[in-house]
Amino acid sequence: MKKLPEWAFFVIIVIVPVLFSLVTMPVSFNRSKTLQFCNSCHIMTPFVESLKDPEVETLATKHYQHRWVAHDQCATCHTDYDFLGPADAKWRGLRHITAYYLDPKPKQPKLYKPYLNINCLQCHEGTKKFSDNPVHAASLEEIKTNKMSCLECHRPVHPEEITHKE
């Protein structure tokens, strides 16, 4: 290997990793937003199946079946609506997978932090249906500051037989 010229080492050790990282990171990041990606993890399969089940009437299912969220439904609701939200969501996802494989008794994945209302408000805030609702109007400040969760009234989000399974 010492016979290789100096520039070849530079290309192999510096340029190749930079190029592969620059391609792999955004491509995998983008693909990981899709429903198919979430469904490829077996522990998520019941959640994705419940979205497609016409008998289920949960919040997530309605959003999926009525296409209120047009695409990447899991990622849209589970990504915090802020500057580092997508990166933070991916990091939490990696933590879930690592915890699953390192834990000798894997548990049902749970949210690492309470669900933020901004993820609902990014679409619903300012819409006529949202603004005309007297409950929303009366408690808008509490909703915006997360003192009251949207999910206190709008539940269940996913079928309880899946979310409460241990």
């Binding site: 290997m1 080492f9 990282s21 995998s28 990606f37 997978i97 690592t98």
Partner: protein, 61 residues
Amino acid sequence: MDKRSIAVILVIVGTIISLICLIHTTPITMTVFFFIGLPSYVLSNLLYIIDIFSTLAKRSR
């Protein structure tokens, strides 16, 4: 085995992992890329830099 050879092997490992992640992106291939592929690249670059500096230090003596 010298530092450069180890660096090249690490690049090969990282490249194979990132190719697998590109061809078949799943939660597990993505996790392996982030926790093994990327650190392999970073480590290979560090070894290369250390090797360059140690070579320069030897020449200046």
